[in-house]
């Protein structure tokens, strides 16, 4: 077996492993969310399928795959079918640039624990997160339903507004590590994570990613009380499942990015690197679930004002201060 063949096999194995782990984590995150929310609300939650309801995700998948795939009469056929994929694919693609461990030695060669260590990794993430908007927009529009359209218009406005503050809050991390490559950013935090230098940027990023994955208190695109289910009202079966799983994949991926940008990624004492990474990602996931169980939903004008008039100027000032600090240091 030649070297190139081995390389390709290792790469494919890595991709398959990451794919499997992320999908499994997303499925169990759904269960975790239902159980933790139930616990917060003093209920039991799903606990019937398997021990402690641990097989519930499997039952859900079977249910969704065997449901009828309904398309509304006035819907735009192709775009209606395409939109769920447009929502799920960018979410999972983003993980390609996230390093989840120190390079390991396998078969006498160094294997970096990241699928593609792009030198524009951070910008690649920004590009994919700006593409993820289309799933929401087209899904709601193609359904030919008032609720779905309103949800998708809200989603569009929210996502493009908070993308701005999210991107700006990452600039200090790039200034400190002097690179767009995620492995460089993680390695720059080997001793001190950037959250110590940049608490404000971290908070802005955290709020922005909560808005990016449309979680409470930013879940206006799918506000149940007003819009039935928002942009995915008309979807059923696995197409709804793709939107749903895409959202949870997004939670995991954005948690991984927050860990990489501000919490030192896979760096940490005692435990092996991938374990640290997963612990940090799960901490963000639990934080988001907790937030959902605790906070009410924002009003639409509050959402827009907060994004444009508070977060974005704060992020800009933070960049300026970081620049001065780096010059004077």
């Amino acid at each position: 077996m030649s070297n190139a063949t081995l390389d390709i096999i290792l790469l494919l194995a890595k991709i398959a492993l990451v794919f499997f782990v992320i999908l499994t984590m997303a499925a169990y995150l759904v269960l975790a969310e239902r159980r933790i929310l139930a616990w917060i609300q003093d209920r039991k939650g799903p606990n019937r399928v398997g021990p402690q309801g641990l097989l519930q995700p499997l039952a859900d998948v079977i249910k969704m795959l065997t449901k009828e795939d309904v398309r509304p009469a006035g819907a735009d056929k192709w775009l209606f079918y395409l939109a769920p994929a447009m929502a799920a694919i960018p979410a999972i693609l983003t993980f390609a640039v996230i390093p989840f461990g120190a390079p390991v030695i396998l078969f006498g060669r160094e294997l970096p624990l990241v699928i593609s260590d792009l030198n524009v990794g951070l910008l690649f993430f920004m590009a994919l997160s700006s593409i993820a908007v289309y799933g929401v927009a087209i899904g709601g529009w193609a359904s030919n339903s008032k609720y779905a359209l309103l949800g998708s218009i809200r989603g569009l406005a929210q996502l493009i507004s908070y993308e701005l503050s999210m991107g700006l809050s990452l600039v200090p991390a790039v200034m400190l590590s002097r690179s767009f490559r995620l492995s460089d950013i993680v390695n720059a935090q080997a001793h001190v994570p950037f959250i110590v230098y940049q608490p404000l940027a971290f908070i802005i990023f955290l709020i922005s990613i909560a808005a990016e994955c449309k979680r409470i208190p930013f879940d206006l695109p799918e506000a149940e009380g007003e819009l039935v289910a928002g942009f995915h009202t008309e979807y059923s079966g696995m197409r709804f499942g793709l939107f749903f799983v895409g959202e949870y994949i997004n939670v995991i991926v954005l948690g991984g990015l927050a860990a990489s940008f501000f919490l030192g990624g896979w760096h940490g004492p005692w435990l092996p690197a991938p374990v640290w990474f997963i612990v940090k990602v799960l901490a963000f996931a639990v934080f988001f679930i907790w937030m959902r169980g605790t906070l009410p939903r924002l009003r639409y004008d509050q959402l827009m004002h907060f994004g444009w008039k508070v977060l974005t100027p704060l992020a800009l000032i933070n960049i300026l201060v970081t620049g001065w600090w780096l010059m004077l240091r």
Partner: protein, 183 residues
């Protein structure tokens, strides 16, 4: 990462062939998607085609060794400008192809003239070109930024000032006339 590290370097010919195959697939995708985005009567469909075209174009930029340009193509064109187009189409309910008339020759001639100029320029360049253009030398973020802000720094500042003027102008024009009215 460009060029790929490790033992891919031992296979220059295979890599070149792969690159060419990928390039022609992407080029075909770009051209076909662009043509569809022009001929499609439905505005939202046209946007989807155009985004596809931008995507393929971005990967071509990446193949040519310009990862930064590739990513900006997606962030700015596919991710920001096209999203704003879509937002406007949705808000103003413009997605009704049956209401759009067929463009006549009076609508066509500026486009035809411009296309003629571009075509003539391409023919001139191709005819004057000697050998294949130098490609494959990757430009990193640092080199790109240095050239952009040192050599073309003044131009960048002027362009950003112009964008600011346009922004302020749009704000002024879009301002509500009534004084007491809340914006």
């Amino acid at each position: 990462m460009w060029p790929p590290k490790g033992n891919h370097m031992g296979l220059p010919l295979q890599r070149k062939i792969m690159e060419q195959i990928i390039f022609y697939i992407l080029a075909a995708a770009t051209v076909i998607a662009t043509v569809f985005s022009i001929t499609e009567r439905h505005a939202v469909h046209a946007i989807v085609y155009l985004v596809t075209s931008f995507f393929a174009l971005a990967v071509i930029f990446y193949l040519l060794g310009a990862p930064l340009v590739a990513v900006f193509e997606v962030i700015i064109y596919a991710g920001a400008i096209m999203v704003l187009f879509m937002f406007v189409i949705m808000m103003l309910d413009l997605g009704h192809p049956e209401k759009v008339g067929t463009p006549g020759i009076r609508d066509w001639w500026p486009a035809l003239v411009l296309a003629g100029v571009v075509f003539a320029a391409i023919v001139t360049i191709v005819a004057a070109a000697t050998g294949s253009p130098a490609a494959g030398q990757a430009i990193g973020v640092r080199e790109f930024a240095l050239v952009l802000f040192q050599r073309y720094g003044v131009a960048i500042e002027i362009i950003s000032m112009q964008l600011l003027f346009a922004l302020v102008g749009a704000l002024y024009l879009g301002r509500r006339q009534g004084k007491g009215e809340k914006p």
